[in-house]
Symmetry: C2
Subunit: 320 residues, 2 copies
């Protein structure tokens, strides 16, 4: 097995750069990987920039996923941020931290998994960096553009309906099973780039569900300066979560992270426009409740008609 | 002392975002920190993108520098990559990895040091991420533009003269002293953004000296498909290195990394144009030798007239 320390940083990067150079890149790339910086022809549309990191033993363990799936995941979690603004990927940089003992084949598979997922979404890998570190960490810089409107977290108004794409809870259930039994695989996040671009034509605000529905809706409430009122029994709970947790499934799904679905609000006057979009989104869309005037908190009604105020709750890197 | 795990990821980011929002940002920023992605108005010039990471106990130790200087360094090493293409910073993202035990004040100082150095160079911090990790790691994504020509590593031709800005070896000497005696401070890298922008009007190829002069000139040779012939006794060795190492100073300075000076080639016909630029660069410029036809290797003549071929040599993360 060839390890990174046997090959060396520069030789590995030279080989990788040569391989990447053979991939077709969009006409936007003037200078790709291998120089001091990448050079990209400017577009006419707003430039969107986001970054997210996957850290070994924090966001994943090596046995939980294949290297190629880890690369795809690194793309997916960043693409999800662009999708939540109505943006599509254009170019990306990949900054890796890795110990010298890592197999070159593993790093190659991570980069290839990332680059292929990016290419399928219309983007090109134009550069990056590799640094020595005690563990594997994958930081992505994803640059994109909004083909139409840019949707922030701040546009929701009282009366708007709150929706979410897909289903919730499956990713969190998989992680809790992996932690308990060390068996199974991390769920592959959905790619909602096309859905996000279309939803941007009708949404007043949008965010992706990475830290859990309640917490991410809380972010949207604070940015928009309005509250939200949801019914727990409306939540599109993933079937595996219902089977596993029964009556507690919806409460789990409301706080469970890493689903990477889109949570968005739509003014009533655009409800019919949303209805026309839904068949083309490639995923279900479920109304959860409404935005309400007042404190920017999330009120959740459970099945028995009791309502609780949830200010925080969900994933935080530094809190239990 | 408030630690990150006491405050939590989201509350720290909320406070940081509020503070950053009070800083003036260029008119180019439509959506700054705090949403899913930053939104930047497009420019008409080529977009330059680069990333580099500082990893604790690899690139720095906590006692070697202050948190603010570490933030400035994270900016400087990335700005150096842009400068080497003739680019100037526009916006940046900052991706941090940190253990929960880190003091909030330390992270704040890193971010502030970074944001101030970026602002002095005309750029704005528009977003980022913080993830839990076993140690501190700072990954910067720097996006810039080239006001004029973009200069790659690939444009050098036989006959071009090789130059370097500033002096060499001081950063490497400081690191070797810190490793041996654990005393002193990391040198603050120079910011050559303005020099790089001006040099781009005359240079045929350019690279920054991060891994050592010989190694970085080797990268430039391979990209350009020509060799280089240098005289070791022409090297602008830093005075501290001459004092410390005497006769061995130039050989040390030729392989020593982290000086972040600009290494560039100029066709003879532009020698006079370079001469007119030099007084405005804010640093000295020293001719080291010439590019020569043939194999893309670096030939170095020492003071005794002996010539050696150096194909590699200098810093590699994964090799001794």
């Amino acid at each position: 097995m060839r390890r990174l320390r046997d090959v060396g940083e520069h030789r590995w990067l030279d080989q990788l750069t040569a391989r990447l150079a053979r991939r077709p890149s969009g006409g936007r790339v003037a200078v790709g990987p291998g120089d001091d910086a990448a050079v990209v022809h400017p577009g006419r549309r707003p430039l969107l920039l986001t970054t997210d990191t996957l850290v070994e033993d924090v966001h994943f363990r090596r046995g939980w996923t294949t290297p190629a799936a880890l690369g795809r995941r690194a793309f997916a979690v960043n693409a999800s941020d662009l999708a939540a603004m109505g943006g599509v990927p254009v170019v990306a940089l990949l900054a890796l931290e890795a110990p010298g003992r890592v197999a070159v084949a593993e790093l190659d598979a991570i980069v290839t998994g990332f680059a292929r997922a990016l290419a399928r979404a219309g983007g090109s890998l134009v550069g990056g960096n590799v640094a020595a570190g005690p563990h594997l960490a994958i930081t992505v810089l994803l640059a994109g553009e909004a083909p139409g409107r840019v949707v922030t977290r701040a546009g929701a108004r009282a009366g708007d309906v709150v929706y979410v794409t897909g289903t919730l809870g499956a990713a969190g259930l998989a992680v809790s099973r992996l932690r308990a039994r060390h068996r199974g695989r991390l769920a592959e996040p959905p790619i909602r780039v096309d859905a996000g671009r279309r939803l941007a034509t009708v949404a007043s605000a949008m965010i992706d569900v990475s830290d859990g529905l309640v917490q991410d809706l809380g972010h949207l409430c604070r940015a928009s300066g309005v509250g939200a009122a949801l019914s727990l029994d409306r939540l599109p709970v993933a079937p595996a979560v219902r089977r596993a947790l029964g009556a507690g499934a919806a409460a789990f799904a409301a706080r469970s992270g890493e689903d990477y679905e889109l949570l968005f609000t739509v003014p009533r006057r655009r409800a019919r426009a949303l209805g026309r979009l839904v068949p083309r989104l490639g995923c279900r869309v479920t109304p959860l409740g409404r935005m309400v005037a007042g404190r920017p908190v999330v009120r959740v009604a459970d099945g028995d008609g009791r309502t609780r105020v949830l200010e925080r709750g969900g994933f935080d890197h530094f809190r239990a």
